[in-house]
Every structure is written in structure tokens, then in C-alpha cells.
């Protein structure tokens, strides 16, 4: 039995802009495209929206999407920042806002455009801007510990050392997601990939090959959240927000830190399952945050889908891939789909929950788990459990 807020809100609209190597648009334009698409998908008018939540990408804007679209008299207009966890976090606060009557209809949007011109690396945008760092930050720069790749490589290596996880096992995650992506018309990378391809891809920072890392995308995703009562009168199949959780583990740079070995998914997941009144065995579809192959492996373990330390062999068994017992990142995730932070798993979760995944649709989609994970040490974790059916 879940708590009384379980299922009281629903995602009723989903919108996505052009995504990928798309140029010539600002963050605000991408955001506006996605919001308009989501509101139209929900069968609503823009004037019905009285709350807006945005998240920061790499390229943020001082102009909110509310300004771009000329929204008036909002009851909620806020930018949230828990990195990759923000999408799931935002849906949680939106669900609270509509259930307590603070707002009636809330749009959450994530927009980003780190790719500024054809051929340019987004590394510069991700590695940081402005004046050269000094002191301890300068030591990090000298060591090469800047951008997203090295901190995740450090965490992955720690897991490999403790549990015997191998690069080939990480590669199996990339291969499984590519197989899903090949069935997703929105995915950026849809050519077949093998473990050998993964192993042959160039080193970024060991233990990560290129194909352990997600690409970078321009674009935006938006969702519309309202009460389940209102959802019943709207045209699209609601994705009921049945459960949620968060955990911000607080890793100290000190003896005993579990950085790289255990993420916030453990506590966040327990909270979400309890709220929804279900167990992990009820979950039919998993949409995990996967900026790197490693985060999928750790998340799988920390939610308890596999015992701690057994994520590697499990991934290698192919169970995450199409036809496997544990369909995971069914749109290709960030690794092969597109990289819009926590909005990537959220987007595919809504599609699966609605049963609109086409040839990649998972039959058992009554309960879809979405995870967000963010920060250079996985400082933030958030979980959503979406349901295809209202609470009974």
C-alpha cells in the first residue's frame, strides 16, 4: 500500500524539439519548441499552464521559457539544479504543487545547446569557462581531472577493482542500448555495434573507451504535469506518478567514502517503491541515467535488481537488451539515443508507459522506473515510478 500522494498526479503531455546536431537555435528556442509540443500533446492551451520548472544544462539562459513564450501570472516559475537528477526531481515537485493546489498545470523543460557549430567539440563547453583556475582547482586541471569523463572513470575503476567488473561488461551495456536505439527513430546513433567495436574505440580516460561515454546533444524535452483527476479528461494516456524518492549521499573526501561503489539509488529507490506500494519485481521497464555505461551498472545494483557486485556479469548476459528479462534504457538511453540529461530517461519512460514504443515497446509496462543521477561524484539521485494505470 503506497502513501496517499501516490498516483495523485500524472504526466499528461510530452514534447521534444529537434534533437542532436541541430544548429542555429538558442536554448530558449529549443525550450519553447518542446514546451509548445508538450502542451499541444496534452490537449491543452498554453494559457492553461500556470507553473514552469526549468533545469540548467551546460548552456543556460537568463531568459526563462516563460519570457520567451510570454506566459503571465504563473504560480510557479523556478530553475532547479540537481544536475542529472533534476528532471526526476522536477516532476516530484510539480506533482506536489498540483496535488496541494498550489498550481494546476506545471510544465517542466530541459533545454541545452552545448554544440555551437558543426565540427566543434563540446568538450570546451563541458570543461568549464572563464578565468583559469587557481589553487586546488588548478591541481585538478594539471592532473587532467576536468570535465565529466575523469571523475566517472575514477568511480568506475574503483568498482572494477572491488568487484572484478570488466571493460567488456561495460561494453555489453553500450551494445544493449545500441540495440534498443536501432528501433528508436529519435536516437542519434543507430548503426549496429559489437563488443569488439566498443573495445576498439579509442581511450578517453581508462577504463573508459569512447563508446562508454554518451555523445552530446542540442535540444529540449518538456513534460506537462497535472492532477490525475484532470488527467482523466485529457486525450493522452496519463503516466501516473506513483512513487518518488531522492538521495543526495554526501560523499566526503575521506576514509569510508562509498564514492563509486554505492550511489543514492539505494535509498531513493526504497523510498519510491514504498510510496508506490510496489516492489522492484513489479517494474517492467527501467530508464536509467546513463551518461556513462558505468552508471547503468551501478544503478542496477543499487536498486537491487541484481546483487551488489554482480552488475557486470548480469549486463554481459544480455538481459538488458531487447528480448532480455530486464529491459533497460529502451530508447537507447543517452549513450546511443540523445543526451538531454535527466530528460532522456524521462522521455522514453513516458513513451513506454503509454505503450507507444512501437517495435521497441515492452509488453509489461504497468510500472516504469525512471532514474536521474547527477554531479561529478553522483552527488544527486532521484527516482520516479510511473504507472500506466490509476491507483485503485
Amino acid at each position: 500500500m503506497g502513501n496517499s500522494f501516490s498516483g495523485g498526479a500524472a504526466i499528461v503531455g510530452l514534447g521534444i524539439s529537434e534533437v542532436g546536431k541541430v544548429y542555429g537555435k538558442s536554448v530558449s528556442e529549443f525550450a519553447a519548441d518542446a514546451v509548445l509540443a508538450a502542451v499541444a500533446d496534452a490537449g491543452l492551451e498554453l494559457a492553461d499552464v500556470d507553473g514552469v520548472i526549468m533545469s540548467y544544462g551546460v548552456v543556460s539562459t537568463s531568459t526563462t521559457v516563460a519570457d520567451t513564450l510570454g506566459l503571465k501570472d504563473l504560480s510557479l516559475s523556478v530553475t532547479m539544479a540537481t544536475a542529472g537528477a533534476t528532471a526526476s526531481v522536477a516532476v516530484q515537485y510539480a506533482s506536489m504543487a498540483v496535488q496541494c493546489g498550489h498550481s494546476s498545470t506545471v510544465v517542466y523543460v530541459h533545454a541545452d545547446c552545448p554544440l555551437q557549430q558543426p565540427g566543434a567539440s563540446a568538450g570546451a563547453a563541458y570543461a568549464g569557462r572563464g578565468t583559469p583556475p587557481m589553487g586546488f582547482s588548478a591541481i585538478d586541471m594539471a592532473l587532467g581531472l576536468f570535465g565529466g569523463n575523469p571523475p566517472y572513470a575514477l568511480m568506475a575503476r574503483r568498482h572494477m577493482e572491488k568487484y572484478g567488473t570488466t571493460s567488456e561488461q561495460l561494453g555489453a551495456i553500450a551494445v544493449a542500448e545500441r540495440q534498443w536505439a536501432m528501433m528508436n527513430p529519435v536516437a542519434q546513433m543507430r548503426t549496429p555495434m559489437t563488443i569488439a567495436d566498443h573495445q576498439a574505440s579509442r581511450w578517453i580516460c581508462e577504463p573508459f573507451h569512447l563508446l562508454d561515454c554518451c555523445p552530446v546533444s542540442n535540444g529540449a524535452v518538456a513534460v506537462v504535469i497535472t492532477t490525475s483527476e484532470r488527467a482523466a479528461h485529457l486525450p493522452r494516456p496519463p503516466a501516473y506518478v506513483l512513487g518518488w524518492g531522492q538521495c543526495h549521499p554526501g560523499y566526503s573526501n575521506f576514509r569510508g567514502s562509498l564514492e563509486g561503489l554505492q550511489s543514492g539509488a539505494t535509498r531513493s529507490g526504497e523510498q519510491a517503491f514504498a510510496m508506490a506500494g510496489i516492489t522492484r519485481d513489479d517494474i517492467g521497464v527501467r530508464e536509467f541515467y546513463d551518461c556513462y555505461t558505468f552508471t547503468v551498472l551501478l544503478t542496477l545494483e543499487d536498486y537491487g535488481f541484481v546483487p551488489k557486485g554482480e552488475g557486470g556479469p548480469f549486463a554481459a548476459s544480455g538481459e538488458l537488451a531487447p528480448g532480455g528479462s530486464m529491459p533497460t534504457n529502451t530508447g537507447g538511453g543517452q549513450l546511443s539515443g540523445f543526451y538531454l540529461w535527466g530528460a532522456t530517461p524521462l522521455h522514453e519512460a513516458v513513451i513506454q508507459c503509454r505503450g507507444e514504443g512501437g517495435e521497441r515497446q515492452v509488453d509489461d509496462h504497468d510500472f516504469v522506473l525512471v532514474s536521474g543521477s547527477g554531479g561529478s561524484r553522483m552527488d544527486h539521485h532521484a527516482t520516479l515510478i510511473l504507472g500506466a494505470n490509476p491507483r485503485t
Binding site: P132, P133, M134, G135, F136, S137, A138, I139, D140, M141, A142, L143, G144, L145, P150, A153, L154, M155, R157, R158, E161, K162, R202, W203, I204, C205, E206, P207, S252, N253, F254, R255, S257, G260, S376, D379
Partner: protein, 135 residues
């Protein structure tokens, strides 16, 4: 190929002065609790996480520790060599990020005992930073 230049700021000045004398400093509060030089995203350690004391000072560490994890960083520019950066857990408890200075044929493992040395950054005018070698 040298390491990119490291310049001190006010917070790190004592750390780099000690490095010039071959001494590794960490943070310690008035109640004896050790801390890493920084927390989170390189925020100075200004409050004890254990007792929340504000009386924090720099304190010498033995310079001995064990390897927690490491990464071999590959550059897209062929002229730059790969280098190994890692996290060391010092005997006193703090974690410190440092250069891992081993020959390419040495196989690293978590838990390997290591000791600090210091290497010059920049073209001879940068600060000395910690580099750990197997003990």
C-alpha cells in the same frame, strides 16, 4: 612535456609553501579531526564535517597512503603524453587527488601502498604538486 602551470590562491598558499619543503599538508580541526584540503567541487575545507568546528588549520600528514582509484587520461593531441591521475587515501584518513607516478609497465591496484613526492608544474615557475609512487 611538463604539467600545466599551477598557481596558488590565498587558501592554498600554506599548502604550496609546505610542498616546497617536501611536506604534505591536510586540514585538521581543534579537536583533532582530519579533513581533505577540499570538499565537494574544490570548496575549501573551512568547517569540520565531524564536529563542525570553525577552528581549522593546516597540519602535516605522513605522506603515506594507499591508492583508492586511478584513471589513465588520454589526450586527443598526440604531442601530449598520457598521464595517470588518482585518489590516495592518506594514513590520517583524508583523500587527496594526485599524479600517480609509475612506469607504464607497472600494474596498479586499489590498496597499493604509496608515498608522496612532489613535481614541478609549468615551465619551472609553477607550484609543486603531490605525486605518489608505490612504496
Amino acid at each position: 612535456m611538463g604539467l600545466p602551470n599551477v598557481a596558488r590562491d590565498e587558501y592554498s598558499a600554506d599548502f604550496f609553501d609546505a610542498a616546497n619543503k617536501g611536506e604534505l599538508l591536510v586540514r585538521q580541526c581543534e579537536n583533532g579531526h582530519f579533513m581533505a584540503p577540499t570538499q565537494g567541487y574544490n570548496q575549501p575545507s573551512v568547517r569540520c564535517q565531524e564536529c563542525h568546528s570553525r577552528a581549522i588549520h593546516w597540519a602535516p600528514a605522513s605522506g603515506h597512503g594507499t591508492l583508492v582509484t586511478w584513471t589513465v587520461i588520454h589526450s586527443r593531441e598526440p604531442a601530449l603524453t598520457t598521464q595517470i591521475a588518482g585518489i590516495i587515501e592518506l594514513e590520517e584518513g583524508p583523500w587527496i587527488k594526485a599524479l600517480i607516478d609509475v612506469d607504464s609497465d607497472v600494474e596498479l591496484h586499489s590498496g597499493v601502498a604509496m608515498s608522496v613526492d612532489f613535481v614541478r608544474t609549468g615551465d619551472g615557475d609553477g607550484e609543486l604538486i603531490p605525486a605518489f609512487r608505490p612504496r
